[in-house]
């Protein structure tokens, strides 16, 4: 009998071209996404006068620096940002890459449009010069972020050298209570294992709560893997996955579809396969979550209190905790639901898909935002779908700032959508790092319904308290 294998083992083996004497594997890369900040990598290629080895396997998408107010050149309001866009476009044209540019409704955040277009498929290897590439693992792919030198290596060779990562499994057992979102599951996992808990590992998420998630929810969970320090996150493909992928523009068609699905059904961890680390989380105990500090591991149930440094016995930890609270402008012992906020951001590769917008709109409907709240769809097609469903109208009537153009926006702030110094923002993005949304900006991460709840109350709010009969 052959040794039981994990999902990761199977994908790894399938892409291993060779192993060098030091034990690193040369992996074939099926799909590569690049964006405006890939210019370093194209410069490296240019210096060597090299061509892209497999242009059809790279998809260039502008998302980081694009405006959200519209898709015209004038919307950039910055020559430098517009130049970055043009550099990407020129590199894509010169190397004959797939390119999704302004005005193309398929354009959007890479980690949203990759799955949406069917570029990202089960069993594939996917890389991008962006740490949230782990998102695509939700479809049963091995997907991870890389730096500029590795991007140039992929462009030149369609391969990457990788040491075999360690394997971790996170099982979420039981069931998911009402009003608990995929984001709450992700934040609970990170709180449990820590921001460095996954270092050197690829996480496979499994268990009944994970299996019951929609693909959009799975994308949210895998997206946050990097915030637990993991190289990648993945979920074995199942019927939910196949149904979601079928018919997408780049999904296999006809005979190829049958063949693909029968290959994908083998992509699961065998009974008896072992992991380097395993965690089990009780789904019933997960509640709506919010972060209070400057690392995604600083997450608490919304019913909690701001931690007190005085209760920390270790001097160094006490000093670190105090530093976080000073930065966040928070007093120890404050009820999280007493914290007033200045603005809300609903969007990013974590939470900008149609289900996220529906969740937020359900809370916003018939209520009124009392702080500036922007909603940025993850792709042009999601924007279109939201408009078909009338979600845009719900947001606009509730006083939200509905943005007509997709992009990373206020998650990283480089397109000009910034949080001002000392402003407190409730954000559906993935990072609450110091200065992430702008210098001295204070970020509280939540799921989309919780963000909408904060928008209509002006405070961090337990979405369950807004329950309608």
């Amino acid at each position: 009998m052959t040794k039981p294998k994990t999902l990761l083992d199977k994908i790894w083996k399938r892409h291993e071209i060779t192993i060098n004497p030091a034990g690193q594997s040369l992996l074939f890369i099926d799909r590569h996404f690049c964006h405006e900040l890939s210019f370093h990598a194209f410069n490296m290629l240019e210096k060597r006068k090299m061509k892209v080895r497999h242009p059809s396997r790279t998809i260039a998408v502008a998302d980081h620096y694009t405006p959200t107010t519209g898709e015209d050149a004038g919307d950039f309001k910055s020559l430098d940002r517009f130049k970055l866009y043009n550099t990407l476009k020129n590199n894509a044209l010169e190397h004959n890459l797939n390119f999704l540019g302004l005005g193309d409704q398929r354009r959007g955040i890479i980690h949203v449009i990759g799955p949406e277009q069917g570029f990202s498929l089960p069993g594939t290897t996917i890389v991008c010069g962006d740490s949230h590439t782990a998102t695509h693992g939700a479809l049963g792919a091995l997907a991870f972020g890389i730096g500029a030198s590795d991007v140039s290596h992929v462009l030149a060779t369609q391969t990457l050298w990788q040491p075999k990562p360690k394997k971790m499994r996170v099982i979420v057992k039981g069931f998911r209570p009402a009003y608990v979102s995929a984001k709450d599951i992700a934040l609970s996992i990170i709180r449990h294992i820590g921001a460095a808990g996954g270092t050197g590992h690829v996480i496979e998420y499994a268990g009944p709560v994970i299996s019951s998630l929609s693909i959009e929810e799975r994308l949210t969970v895998c997206n946050m893997s990097i915030e637990a320090g993991a190289r990648a996150g993945m979920i074995a493909p199942d019927e939910t996955t196949y149904k979601w992928i079928e018919g997408r523009p780049h999904a296999p068609k006809n005979d190829n579809w049958e063949e693909a699905v029968s290959a994908w059904t083998l992509l699961k961890t065998d009974e008896g396969a072992t992991f380097d680390k395993e965690y089990e989380i009780d789904g019933q105990l997960i509640t709506p979550m919010v972060t209070w500090g400057t690392s995604p591991e600083d997450a608490l149930p919304i019913t909690g209190l701001v931690p007190d440094p005085l209760e920390e016995t270790n001097a160094e930890k006490r000093a670190n905790l105090k530093r976080k609270l000073d930065y966040m402008g928070l007093k120890p012992g404050t009820s999280l639901t007493d914290i007033t906020v200045d603005r809300v951001f609903i969007g990013s590769c974590t939470n900008s898909r149609i289900e996220d917008l529906r969740e937020a709109a359900a809370v916003a409907k018939g209520r009124s935002a009392c702080v500036h709240s922007i909603v940025v769809p993850g792709s042009g097609l999601i924007k279109k779908q939201a408009e078909i469903e009338g979600l845009d109208k719900i947001f606009i009537e509730a006083g939200f700032d509905w943005r007509p153009a997709a992009g990373c926006s206020m998650c990283v702030g480089v397109n000009g959508d910034l949080v001002s110094p000392k402003e407190r923002c409730v954000s559906t993005s993935n990072r609450n790092f110091r200065g992430r949304q702008g210098p001295d900006a204070r970020t509280h991460l939540t799921g989309p319904a919780m963000a909408a709840a904060a928008a209509v109350t002006g405070k961090l709010t337990d979405v369950r308290s807004l329950q309608r009969n």
């Binding site: 060098n20 730096g147 500029a148 590795d150 270092t199 050197g200 591991e297 990072r431």
Partner: protein, 201 residues
């Protein structure tokens, strides 16, 4: 790439965990080309306050550490964003090595592409090193990559572990694309034999 063999240099402590790459290189500098200004972005928002005034307790602003080439940091250094610019700005500022109990995986990987040596040591030892750096007037650490050891007066010789492939890359200043091209035959073979049953890609 400049090979890395041995280094004896001044070292500086950052005794905080989870120093993410947004701290090392704030996002607003990401669009900048890599030129002589790149080093000025290093830790910008930790080094200066909102009004552009230097924050005196940040290590780079202390005279004693201004010429440091080694950083001894807390857990999970370089976590977060994949931006290789975080490594560029460290290297352009003269840093050759970072010692920490753990690193963000992507940062760790990016380091080797730029001749920066990340060294993983047990947390207790890292704390000991940091204390030494705080106590001494001009604290130096010696790193010998060949024998995988570091030395300082407080700890004497300490062994560290590093993947042999990555070690060799640094020792030789090996360029990865050149290296991979030696495997051109294997890549061609894979593409010919192993992609046929994945024609839907």
């Amino acid at each position: 790439m400049v090979p890395f063999k041995t280094l004896k240099a001044l070292a500086a402590p950052i005794n905080q965990d989870n120093i993410d790459t947004d701290q090392i290189l704030p996002a607003r500098f990401l669009m900048m080309p890599r030129d002589q200004k790149y080093r000025t972005y290093l830790f910008r928002d930790l080094r200066e306050d909102n009004n552009g005034l230097q924050t005196p307790d940040f290590f780079l602003n202390q005279k004693k550490f201004s010429k440091a080439q080694i950083i001894v940091a807390g857990r999970n250094f370089g976590c977060g964003s994949s931006r290789e610019g975080a490594v560029f700005t460290l290297v352009d500022s003269g840093f050759r090595s970072v010692i920490a109990p753990s690193f963000g995986d992507i940062f760790y990987n990016n380091s080797f592409n730029n001749g920066l040596l990340p060294i993983v040591l047990p947390e207790s030892l890292v704390k000991e090193l940091q204390q030494f750096l705080i106590n001494e007037a001009a604290p130096e650490i010696t790193i010998d990559l060949e024998s995988e050891q570091i030395f300082c007066e407080a700890t004497s010789w300490v062994k560290f572990d590093i993947d042999p492939h990555r070690r060799e890359r640094l020792l030789k200043g090996l360029d990865m694309i050149d290296y991979t091209q030696q495997f051109g035959e294997a890549i061609n073979r894979y593409e010919r034999d192993c992609l046929v049953d994945k024609k839907w890609l």
